[in-house]
Symmetry: C2
Subunit: 381 residues, 2 copies
């Protein structure tokens, strides 16, 4: 038995890699078999009914191998156990197992079955390039902030950033529907401001309002944003649920690129031995849920991700995966213009560079700062 390569799953099944902390292969295998039961029938092994349930429904340990100071176990699950739903797929992958220390979700090998009910990104990397018209350089992004400004003041900032050539101008993820900048007014003003700048520059900068809210309200805001001329949406699936992200991606009345924000997701990746690997969470899971780009903290900013973890996220976004479109990694979190050359070296062209507060550090000429940002990635300001 070998855990890698993550072989083609058997027909009707998909595979999952777990990292298991255990002192021996035998103990790791015992834990892996416990996971296979826990994640499916949650039933004492000896009482599992023979036939279909024992042979198909219970997860199968397909392979196990040593990986550093732990073991990598490859399990397969019956695709039909996900019942055609993202929520139940997440439950199969890591529902009860999330409660276990020393057990980490490392990767998903989906096979062809999952795409039948998970269409994935509507735009992805190619769609975002088409939407912005940006071909041979990384896309640039910034955030409208700080929270507490009026809709008019945020719109003025949006105008300046678009004038300077920032491609994706998003709401700060804390902008919701607060009284000082209500969602509807903010979206109308900011979308209009970016449109006005686009007419002046001939570019196609997009405004992406934050639609993260309750289940019905997220969809309502997304449709309102579309009608008001937003060019994309910001959504935080850790706050509103991965299935709400998926619903946005699937809704033809929305039909906009979706930029995923990691708010509240950090606890899944804060332990090296439990939770989820960066690549599977900020890459694979967001991608199969329909995100077109994935924001994460680049190393050396205000957060603690390592360079290796950041590159693993970029791989999870862009590598071939289940037939879903590649999506754009969006390194962020305390970036500044000084670090753009390093971002280029790290991620290459197929990425979005998000500089938020750092764009404000060089004084009030935001359009001028944005133009410097653009020149740093080889764009024509």
């Amino acid at each position: 038995m070998s855990a890698s390569p993550p072989a083609r799953p058997a027909p009707g099944r998909f595979e999952v890699l777990y990292r298991i902390a255990a002192p021996s292969r035998a103990e790791a295998a015992a834990r892996a078999r416990a996971v296979a039961l826990e994640q499916t029938v949650e039933f004492p092994e000896g009482l599992v009914p023979p036939g279909f349930i024992r042979d198909q429904v219970v997860g199968r340990l397909e392979g196990i191998e040593r990986a550093g100071d732990a073991y990598l176990a490859r399990l397969s699950f019956l695709t039909a156990c996900a019942g055609g739903e993202l929520t139940q797929l997440l439950n199969l992958l890591f529902g009860n197992s999330s409660l276990q220390p020393g057990l980490r979700l490392e990767a998903l090998c989906p096979g062809p079955g999952l795409r039948r009910f998970l269409p994935g990104p509507r735009f992805g990397l190619p769609g975002l390039r088409r939407a912005t018209g940006v071909k041979a350089r990384p896309l640039l992004s910034t955030a409208l902030k700080p929270m507490g400004l009026s809709a008019a003041a945020l719109a003025e900032r949006a105008y300046q950033f678009a004038l300077g050539g920032v491609d994706l101008i998003k709401d700060d993820h804390g902008l919701a529907d607060q009284g000082w900048a209500p969602f509807g007014e903010r979206v109308r003003r900011c979308a209009a401001a970016v449109r006005r700048a686009n007419r002046e520059t001939g570019r196609r900068s997009l405004y992406l309002p934050n639609v993260t809210a309750g289940p019905a309200e997220t969809i309502r805001r997304a449709r309102l944003a579309r009608r008001a001329g937003a060019g994309g949406l910001l959504v935080a699936p850790g706050l509103c649920g991965f299935a709400t992200l998926q619903a946005l991606a699937a809704d033809p009345a929305v039909g906009l690129p979706l930029l995923a924000h990691p708010a509240l997701l950090g606890s899944f990746t804060v332990s090296r031995s439990a939770g989820m690997a960066h690549r599977v969470l900020y890459g694979q899971l967001l991608r199969l849920s329909g995100a077109d780009a994935s924001i994460f903290p680049h190393w050396g900013g205000r957060f603690a991700f390592s360079r290796e973890e950041c590159l693993a996220i970029a791989a999870g976004c862009r590598e071939p995966f289940g037939g879903w479109r590649p999506i754009l990694p969006v390194p962020a979190g305390g970036m500044s213009l000084q670090r753009v050359p390093e971002l280029l070296e790290c991620y290459g062209q197929e990425a979005v560079f998000l500089v938020g507060g750092g764009l404000f550090a060089d004084g009030p000429d935001l359009a001028g700062t944005a133009r410097r940002f653009l020149r740093l990635v080889g764009g024509h300001a």
Copy 2:
């Protein structure tokens, strides 16, 4: 400055306790101030506009004190920053901070402002006692399993459990809408089976189907379940989002007690130094989101929670908190009838004891096993 007691927040603000790993008080205070910025304006401190934003919108460090090998920092936030929405409240509490190691959300001191937009549990502890008619003993619960059984076979088990006196008979949380036991058929059959048993026993056992799904589908299933005669609902907010739980609690066309399952939430509590404290996640946050009872793994079963963590969850469920109704803690996760006396000693009467797979271990007479379960808590079988 002192972190405790969690004083009454100033008017218009609520308070939050964070545990911060730091080598000195000065470093802990610096980290706490960084959290106050990160969770609100996400902006360099020197650039924050004076006036309303600097004075009100930016989080405030209200106190800090040493706690063991770390520090407890008490921060206050402007209630209006939550914009009247649970998703943005979660973001304020721990959005970007979830990405930080050595920082843990310990407790919430809500003040009166949050209840205006978060009505909380519709039933809570008193409502669940009224719904079941059970007065002076813990409520009993079990799960219909294993996944893979037909709706008819699950309904037969539901009938036996109700006949034996189990109060809350829930779907296993992996039962979604799989082809072998589709949601609609399962709910109709199981609700009818429990009704039939109730007619025979004169009790009021409730059937609680799992409605966890995508945002619109969860609500649709919940309403369908209500019409089919379900007595409550099982929902996993880690899978469908806390705001979907809240929407269920608020929906008058649902109007059923909500039993929260911890699937996928475990990663928030798997680290002792990061993520969230057990009490705030499985107690406070579920409660303000509208759960009426909170399932969690009791110590010494298949999971790794400590006795102290379990008691903290029970406290978070039942102690006075923001004016919300107390809810029922539901220790579970590998329990057996042998451990009921210890559960009684641990949690007393105001709890639900959930024994799932363990009820199947004593042979096929499920009603008989359920009667023994009932006698162990002083019920009349």
